[in-house]
């Protein structure tokens, strides 16, 4: 089974969220997600300053065979994007929880973070879908 770090929060759409401070939530896709996608060849991210809404698409990830929306775990403003991904989209496969991160959100609705899945919840979701 794909790794699910205990310190992160998750969405049912297979994004992870790292609560770095009240103002910074780092976002990427899970190891399971990148495995399912296969070789990532393009990541389309919003610009810094863009507003994102909880569980609305904030970008797109393309693998050789498929294109998938990226969903925002929380509402807020994009304060940083991973500038390495345009040149090195394979980082998403190689290091999904590290150098393959996508955006940092400054949350606008503090309460939303309670609605995120815990690591055990996400593991359960993977297990239920047969993984």
């Amino acid at each position: 089974m794909a790794s699910v770090p205990a310190e992160l929060k998750y969405t049912k759409e297979h994004e992870w969220a790292k609560l770095e401070s009240n103002d910074r939530v780092r976002v990427g896709i899970t190891a399971y997600a990148q495995e399912q996608l296969g070789d990532v060849v393009f990541v389309e991210l919003p610009k810094v300053g863009a507003k994102v809404a909880k569980m609305k698409a904030f970008g797109v990830v393309e693998s050789v065979k498929a294109v998938s929306d990226l969903f925002a775990p929380l509402s807020g403003e994009v304060v940083e994007i991973n500038g390495d991904l345009p040149k090195s989209p394979e980082l998403v496969n190689q290091d999904p929880y590290g150098r393959g991160w996508m955006i940092v959100i400054k949350p606008s609705h503090a309460g939303e973070r309670n609605e995120l899945l815990s690591a055990p919840d996400y593991e359960k979701l993977l297990a239920e879908s047969g993984h």
Binding site: F42, V64, K65
Partner: protein, 373 residues
């Protein structure tokens, strides 16, 4: 995230199904079959074929045999290429067309004997082709041997050396688009110097029940060559870099051979055949659109059905598109209006409502290394 769709209807399985699952392949539905889309990853598998050697299970492809004194005449009428020019032991790429000039299927024709041929057809078209050839070629005796015939493609610069070690016949002397009968790992096979990758290599037809034996023998004998099983995902990126048409994507019954760039397999001088008149009409006026290669300026991936525009006006449609691992950029095949089909023309592909710059490029996108001699 959107994943490979779940399987609902019963799908057919090749004799190598268990071998694929054991290897950890990801299986997907394809043309009514449950097929491996990837093993280690599409890019890795693609590079294995370009740099070493890969094995493809393409047992889902259909094989139709036709024989009898009228076989040549029947095939001349059914196919666009000139079967009369085909020697025994030679293979020919050809098309079945409708009277309107649309493409029923693209096929390879093997001349097994003076009066006996085998057609290899696309898996998803096997039933349709069978109905078509038996209806329009009823003077000859047809046999659908798809269920008895497995097919393993061995492709890449090390394919020749690998197969030579397992065959009881000198396969190094088989020329491109020719075949021999040989025992491979002791199994009676047709060894054909053909493929769908742009690399040197072979397609090996073996009895259904013996496929697993041949597959494992190739994997074992090729271990030192770095041989790997290759899924349909890399098969698609490999063929796309060569601009080989994929039925159902780039060609179908609504496309004619000339706009698809397949005029070289339409031999009107040979006599009458189904679709000739319609194709000749198109030749007279010139096709109004052409299948061209597009190279994207940025990395967004063009895909089947995306619109092509020129100065914000509709100009065509993408039929196949992907990241091309050997060319390291996003590439596509697209039908564009003839006025915009010249190499160098700047066009845009609409990707998620955004115009992304591209230009028409020469194809193949990556140099072919098939053995021409």
């Amino acid at each position: 995230m959107v994943y490979w769709s779940a399987m609902t209807s019963p799908l057919k399985r090749t004799p190598l199904f268990d071998a694929h699952v054991k290897t950890g392949a990801r299986m997907v539905p394809f043309g009514g079959w449950e097929m491996p889309v990837q093993y280690t990853g599409i890019v890795d598998e693609h590079r294995t074929v370009r740099g070493a050697v890969g094995l493809f299970d393409v047992s889902h492809m259909g094989e139709l045999e036709v024989g009898g004194p009228s076989a040549v005449r029947v095939l001349q009428r059914l196919t666009t290429n000139d079967v009369g020019a085909l020697e025994i032991g030679q293979v020919q790429y050809s098309l079945l067309c409708t009277p309107e000039g649309g493409i029923v299927d693209d096929v390879t024709v093997y001349r097994l004997a003076p009066d006996r041929f085998m057609l290899t057809v696309n898996a998803s078209n096997t039933a349709k082709d069978w109905a078509w050839v038996t209806e329009h070629g009823s003077d000859a005796a047809w046999r659908d041997v798809s269920g008895a015939t497995a097919l393993v493609a061995v492709q890449g610069p090390r394919a020749e050396g690998l197969l030579a070690r397992l065959a009881d016949t000198d396969v190094t002397r088989v020329r491109y688009y020719h075949f021999v009968r040989a025992a491979v790992a002791g199994v009676a096979s047709i060894v054909s110097r053909t493929g769908y990758t742009g690399e040197d290599g072979f397609e090996v037809y073996v009895p259904w029940a013996e496929a697993e034996r041949v597959w494992h023998a190739l994997l074992q004998a090729g271990a030192g060559d770095g041989v790997k099983p290759i899924g349909l995902g890399a098969r698609d990126t490999l063929r796309l870099e060569m601009r080989y048409a994929l039925y159902g994507n780039d060609i179908d019954e609504t496309t004619n051979p000339l706009e698809a760039g397949l005029g070289w397999v339409v031999k009107s001088a040979k006599g009458d055949f189904i679709g000739k008149e319609a194709i000749e009409r198109v030749r007279g006026g010139g096709p109004r659109r052409k299948l061209v290669g597009l190279a994207m300026v940025d990395r967004a991936v063009p895909r089947h059905g995306y619109p092509v525009v020129k100065d914000a006006q509709p100009a065509g449609v993408v039929t196949s598109g992907s990241y091309g691992p050997s060319v390291d950029r996003s590439i596509a095949l697209a039908y564009v209006e003839t006025a915009h089909a010249a190499v160098g023309t700047a066009l845009d592909v609409e990707i998620r409502d955004q115009a992304r710059p591209a230009h028409v490029v020469r194809t193949p996108f990556h140099p072919s290394r098939v053995k021409k001699a």
